[in-house]
């Protein structure tokens, strides 16, 4: 194992991601994942894992704001972001491998287990552990900067990087006085409970039943042969207040 100066190499990783237009970068040490379900911890994917590098990209606000009218643009944006995220994850993996570390990039999207209803590695939880945000009532990552209008990519690695601190305040809880849990009301399928429990099966079902045909309103469509996306809970959670990340 190569021993390097933590701080310097961490900065190199940050600079690398910033050069790829990543808006927020955080590093979650492996120890913070103790509560993750079995087989979904960083060490289950990479036995030598030391930390997870998490990058967050901001979505285009005007597209999200104009949902549901511009749902085609939103869906296309989602798919293009998947490609951008995969490119970033892959590039970072290569960068770390060239520096002599093992790393595994997690695919931006594409599969989940039916039981339990989760992906093999959760980008959202990794982002929380890296201090980029917290999980909101809508079950999405809520960041102080962009609300839920973000996309996430994570890379598991054994590089000894300097962890970023977790958020001290919970943006979703901070904002609830103003937004009055609008995400609960905005969900067209009523999947979100006021306590923050998400009925994932119902959400999936809504996507298949209402958005999954070739017809949407007056439109006929087929974008990348994929479903249209709802996105209303993403729309609900923009930036609701002046919550600021504490600079260390």
């Amino acid at each position: 194992m190569k021993i390097s100066n933590d701080g310097r190499f961490t900065k190199k990783v940050f600079d690398f991601l910033k050069s790829m237009d990543v808006d927020l970068v955080g590093i979650a040490p492996e120890e913070r994942f103790e509560e993750a379900p079995p087989d979904h911890k960083p060490k289950d994917l990479l036995p030598s894992a030391r930390c997870v590098v998490v990058g967050v990209l901001r979505q285009i606000p005007s597209v999200v704001d104009s949902l549901p009218e511009n749902r085609f643009s939103y869906t296309q944006q989602h798919h293009v972001f998947n490609k951008i995220l995969d490119d970033i994850g892959f590039a970072l993996s290569r960068f770390l491998e060239e520096e002599g570390y093992e790393s595994i990039h997690i695919s931006s999207e594409g599969y989940y287990e039916i039981r339990p209803f989760i992906a093999y590695f959760s980008h959202r939880h990794a982002a929380v552990m890296a201090g980029l945000g917290e999980l909101g009532i809508n079950n999405l990552l809520v960041t102080p900067e962009f609300g839920s209008r973000v996309r996430i990519i994570s890379v598991i690695t054994d590089a000894p990087l300097k962890p970023t601190p977790r958020l001290e305040k919970h943006p979703c809880k901070e904002w609830q006085g103003k937004c009055k849990k609008i995400c609960v009301k905005m969900c067209p399928a009523e999947c979100i409970s006021r306590e923050g429990k998400l009925n994932k099966i119902r959400c999936r079902f809504y996507h298949y039943e209402t958005l999954g045909s070739y017809l949407y309103g007056n439109y006929v469509f087929s974008l990348d042969r994929a479903n249209l996306l709802c996105g209303m809970c993403v729309k609900a959670c923009g930036k609701w207040g002046d919550f600021q990340r504490k600079e260390k």
Partner: protein, 236 residues
Amino acid sequence: MRVNKNKKTLSQNITRILKDMGASKIGIAPAERLKKAPKGFRPTDILSGAKNVIAIAVSQIPSVVDNVPAARFTFSQQYHVITRKLDDLAMAVSRFLDKEGFSTVQIPADGFYDRQSLRAHLYHEEAAAAAGLGEIGLNNMLITPEYGARLQLVTIVTDAPLEASPEFKKGLCKRWQKKCHQVCAKMCPVECISEKEGFRKELCIYYHNKFLSEGLHIYIPNVLCGLCVKACKGFD
């Protein structure tokens, strides 16, 4: 968040990003040039406060198009790859404008249309023609002096102040018709194209769904005809 940016620098930056990513032609149309579009299909209906429309074109590989229908599968694959490339280009511009503090909505390159009017909510061809890339020809496609009809398009609507491209001088198709004698109308297997009746989209869509992709895709086909693209290679 509104930043006062120099119109010229902003337009130049966009052009540079797009050229670097492999766009063939780029044009900018002020939103007013598209106000004649039907209600619900204008840039301002997509983004309230829209000021400009950015039109991007990526050219197709001529030898593939020339060998349609023999190379029809290659042509179809090329079409879908370019569609995805256009989406990437549109997103790159959108992300750039967003970071500069402007509102922006990118329209998917392909994939949806209104059932009644058979048009997408922003018509890429009209946007591109308004942005000075070319004109809409007899075959209902954008034709340009450099590439004929062998282009694919994507559009971004934004409220950023940008430098408008000069309008295109109409008459290209008419001029070429002296040489091509409306070869696109003759080549269309279902006779969608005629000067008198205009372009009959429903026939074109029916042909694609019934004869080219039946059972594969119900509405928007995997396999494409492409003969009217082949017809118009440019005749200067």
